[in-house]
């Protein structure tokens, strides 16, 4: 990860279409026919948190709320449950966004982990009030794995914004 330890890299401006594509791909991942959900990270939550940290003017609470609604409808969950949790997640990520980028990637992941856990806990609370059953403590394992994916997500999601270290006319990228 030597690449990330260079303190300042000037990135190209973000492409909004790429942001939308990543959100759609994350939703696609979440809608895959999982047989057992323990430990499957919530990719939509991770991508929302990522873009709220990196592009808080383009990804906000409203977008997160809408993505949550699509999650609810696609999964047959209580309508508004994911929307509720993702709105809080986006708010937390936007609150953190000025501070979090000064840390190393793993420290950033440690900042994101409580946010993801809190959004899961909110969903759990909502469903318990609505009369659900407690799915067991392994329910929270998905957030741990999602937080562990933060450095990889940073690498992948910022890929189109990076520019080459030294410009070479003969190199396409």
């Amino acid at each position: 990860m030597a690449y990330f330890e260079q303190p300042e890299r000037i990135l190209l401006p973000v492409n909004v279409a790429y942001m939308a594509l990543t959100v759609v791909l994350a939703l696609l991942f979440n809608l895959l026919p999982w047989h057992d959900l323990t430990g499957v990270p919530d990719m939509a939550a991770l991508v929302i948190a990522f873009w709220c940290v990196h592009q808080p003017r383009r990804m906000g609470i409203g977008t997160a709320w809408f993505v949550g609604l699509v999650m609810d409808a696609g999964n047959g969950a209580l309508l508004g449950q994911h929307a509720f949790a993702y709105a809080f997640l986006a708010f937390g990520a936007i609150t953190l966004h000025r501070r979090i980028l000064w840390f190393s990637l793993w420290q950033q992941a440690a900042h994101v982990l409580p946010l993801l856990l809190a959004s899961q806990a909110l969903m759990l609370g909502v469903r318990m009030i609505a009369g659900g059953v407690f799915p067991g403590p392994m329910y929270f394992a998905g957030s741990l794995i999602a937080a562990a994916l933060w450095p990889t997500a940073t690498f992948l999601l910022l890929l189109p914004q990076r520019r080459p270290d030294s410009v070479d006319e003969n190199r396409p990228l």
């Binding site: 809608l31 026919p33 609810d72 309508l79 509720f84 609505a130």
Partner: protein, 303 residues
């Protein structure tokens, strides 16, 4: 003089204000959905939006299944064919008996002036996936309102009842399994005809026979089948088998744990049974009153 920042610094309402707005909107939706079921049209529109994504997500698995089918060896096919032929032969004898029994049953029912039971039309469906919702036990099937699926229909596999259609979208439908905590199924004990209502246990493979008296005649390994008195399920479909009974004199009800008879977690192919037509309407008190209709008079018990 009042000072206004230049418009390009404007960022709209503060995050806390937005959070408040969207959270209250979400809470409103949740209450509407959980308590009143008013949010169905919104859910339908959103589900239509998610439908292409779901199809794409399912494509790799379907492709794998299709190519696996293609490479099934000839030997396997031959063996399966032999096995099916043998099974067919066995089933044929059963079928002959069944035909005779059915005719006899029709005759007896006529004798008792009972209503004839007609076999119900059914729709074959395949389970697409399990909902990503660890709090409930639901599956999504690949038939929807376009194929004539309606909420309330019973869903069975080759052994017995697996659940009931609870929500219908244009191309897919949601089936609540009998193991869901919110799902109730009217059953009776085969051995003695005792009627009861079975409740989902909430986890993968248990059901509870709740509110059965401590001294009720239920034994371990009793088979429970649908009683059919609600008109939703046809009578006589296996639902569960009693696995454990705890009778405690301190409580008025026995704790009876059952195991579902059908493969609620295994099969991909299911059959959706349409509802029985021609049942008399339920009592007026049970239905929401139509506007303008006179209020039905309740019988006075005191007199």
């Amino acid at each position: 003089m009042d000072y206004q920042p230049p418009p390009f610094f404007s960022r709209g309402p503060a995050p806390l204000v937005r959070l408040g707005f969207f959270v209250s909107l979400a809470v409103l939706l949740m209450v509407l959905d959980a308590r009143f079921r008013y949010a169905e049209s919104i859910r339908e529109a959103l589900a239509l939006l998610a439908y292409p994504l779901q199809r794409v997500a399912l494509a790799p698995g379907e492709l794998f299944g299709a190519s696996a089918d293609f490479f099934t060896t000839q030997v396997a096919l031959k063996q399966e064919n032999d096995r099916l032929k043998a099974k067919d032969l066995l089933a044929a004898s059963d079928l002959l008996t069944l035909g005779a029994l059915r005719a006899e049953n029709v005759q007896l029912r006529r004798l008792f002036d009972a209503r004839e039971r007609v076999p119900r039309p059914s729709t074959f469906a395949e389970i697409l996936y399990q909902g990503r919702d660890p709090f409930s036990r639901k599956v999504i099937i690949d038939k929807g309102s376009q194929q004539g699926i309606e909420p309330g229909q019973a869903v069975i596999d080759d052994i017995g009842v697996i659940g009931q259609v609870t929500r219908v979208h244009p191309f897919v439908a949601e089936v609540t399994l009998i193991t869901d905590k919110e799902q109730r199924t009217p059953v009776e004990v085969v051995r003695n005809g005792l009627r009861a209502v079975i409740y989902g246990g909430g986890d993968k493979s248990t059901l509870d026979l709740s509110y059965t008296a401590t001294n009720a005649d239920v034994q371990a390994d009793d088979l429970l089948v649908t009683s059919g008195i609600d008109g939703t399920y046809p009578p006589g479909l296996p639902v569960a088998k009693v696995s454990k009974i705890e009778r405690n004199a301190a409580t008025s009800f026995a704790t009876i744990t059952c195991i579902p008879a059908a493969g609620t977690d295994q099969n991909r192919q299911v059959l959706v049974l349409s509802r029985e037509a021609g049942l008399p309407a339920p009592p007026v008190e049970a239905e929401p009153r139509a506007s303008g209709a006179p209020k039905p008079k309740r019988p006075k018990n005191r007199e």
